[in-house]
């Protein structure tokens, strides 16, 4: 099981990613964030701790996730990003769409 989701506190969920976050994860990642009850979510934390490679489909997945939760949960944090990943987010101006730590 590469992508896991756990409840941190009430309404706060943390999704931990695998070493690579690419097109192969589309289904898994979608299943993770859609598994949360629509009414219950207030905040998502996506942990990039183990991720060292990510391609453009990762950006598509994150945007789709944002669209899915749009209007219901706008607080999506991307944490523990390594320099390479952070560079991708900077170039694609994701730092304006998400909170990156």
């Amino acid at each position: 099981m590469a992508i896991t989701i756990k409840t941190v506190s009430a309404g706060c969920y943390e999704i931990s990613l695998d070493e690579t976050f690419d097109f192969n994860c589309v289904e898994e990642f979608r299943r993770a964030y859609e598994s949360v009850s629509v009414k219950g979510a207030a905040q998502f934390i996506i942990d990039f701790r183990s991720t060292h490679y990510m391609d453009s489909s990762a950006l598509g997945m994150l945007i789709n996730m944002q669209k899915y939760w749009d209007g219901r949960c706008s607080d999506i944090r991307l944490i523990n990003t390594n320099p390479q990943v952070r560079k991708i987010f900077a170039i694609s101006r994701f730092d304006k769409k998400f909170t990156i730590e």
């Binding site: 390479q84 170039i91 694609s92």
Partner: protein
């Protein structure tokens, strides 16, 4: 005889002193020295006459001395004055010509310095792009860099967009695959119904056979129902077959869309990194050029200033020429003073020491007036 020698010595010393003083201190002092020397000579001649009445012929000595003095004055004085006047004119000419050409050169230099400075400013504006020039026609380095940056941003935005749409398409495809899977379940159900119908038709046929002649018509119906269930089963198989082809096609589409969505971002990162590096270098080059040019402009400014100082300083050449003119005037005065000196003994008796003094006084007064005047003019500069 001893006093005659003394007289000659005094006369010689007077002229030598007059020459030196003329060169070093100016004409006024020279006149004073000459006249002073003449007075001393006269006094000595008088003393010779008084003191040696009974020893030698004083009148002869005095006459000879005076003739000698006169000769020396005529010869040396005239020539000297001529030479001094010529020198004065030459100095005036040379100084005038030099000052004029120097002045022209300096003005040319100043103009070039200003030209250089304005060229430098133009160059800087051209390279770095002045803020006023935003009509977009002028291709400046900063403008070019900005354009490239915008294009790269648009490019990144484009493939983020593509990725977003692709992932969205993949989600739809996956939903569709799920629908296919549930469709297969339904197809299975239909197949089950067909099988059961077939079995039912078989049972009906058996029952019809048992009924004998009365069941013959029913046997035909049962046979038809069995045929229908068989063709239904066949159709079901065909539908499943087609649906499976559709599913595998959709799966292939998903793969293609996945390939579209999965672009390696490292190319963009490298491009962005290179661009940032180039922009930084460009910035440095611009800064360097700008610094260099402003230093050169400063240097031009200083050159301009120095040249102006030089031109101002050249105006002092006027004072030099004025001084030389005055010198010439005084030399003329000296010449006429020399000419008015007595030539022989008879004239000596008429020429009194008081007259000499008067001439000296006049000269000194005239020169002091000129000196104060020139001092006042010098203050004006």
């Amino acid at each position: 005889m001893e006093s005659n020698v003394k007289l000659l010595v005094v006369s010689g010393v007077t002229w030598t002193a007059a020459l030196i003083v003329c060169l070093v201190f100016g004409v006024e002092a020279t006149v004073a020295v000459i006249v002073g020397g003449a007075v001393v000579n006269g006094v000595m001649i008088a003393r010779c006459g008084l003191g040696s009445e009974d020893k030698v012929e004083p009148s002869d000595d005095v006459e000879r001395a005076l003739i000698q003095v006169g000769e020396v004055l005529d010869l040396e004085g005239g020539v000297l004055c001529e030479a001094l006047e010529t020198s004065g004119r030459n100095i005036n000419d040379v100084v005038g010509t030099s000052v004029e050409s120097l002045s022209q050169s300096f003005q040319g230099l100043s103009a070039r310095a200003q030209e250089q400075q304005s060229l430098m400013h133009e160059l800087v504006a051209e390279i770095s792009g002045s803020p006023g020039d935003t009509d977009g026609e002028a291709v400046t380095l900063s403008h070019f860099a900005e354009e490239v940056g915008t294009i790269l941003d648009d490019y990144v935005k484009l493939f983020v967009d593509v990725s977003d749409k692709s992932v969205s398409a993949v989600h739809n495809i996956q939903d569709m695959v799920q629908h296919f899977d549930s469709m297969f379940l339904l197809i299975n159900d239909i197949r089950g119904i067909a099988d059961q119908t077939n079995l039912l038709a078989l049972n009906a046929a058996i029952e019809a056979a048992r009924a004998g002649e009365a069941g013959r018509g029913f046997a035909v119906v049962a046979d038809e129902v069995r045929k229908l269930s068989q063709s239904s089963s066949l159709l079901n198989d065909q539908i499943r077959e087609k649906a499976e082809v559709a599913k595998s096609t959709i799966t292939r589409v998903e793969k293609v869309v996945g390939e579209i969505a999965s672009l390696d971002m490292s190319i963009a990162i490298d491009a962005k990194g290179h661009l940032d590096g180039m922009l930084q270098q460009l910035e440095n080059v611009n800064q360097g050029v700008s610094d260099g040019v402003s230093k050169m402009a400063d240097a031009s400014e200083k050159t301009h200033h120095d040249v102006n100082s030089a031109i101002t300083a050249l105006q002092f050449a006027d004072i030099v020429s004025q001084e030389v003119s005055r010198l010439s005037e005084k030399i003329s005065g000296l010449k006429s003073a020399l000419a008015s000196l007595p030539k022989d003994r008879d004239q000596v008796s008429e020429f009194e020491v008081s007259q000499l003094k008067e001439i000296v006084q006049q000269r000194i007064q005239a020169s002091s007036v000129v000196a104060s005047l020139s001092a006042g003019e010098a203050d004006l500069f």
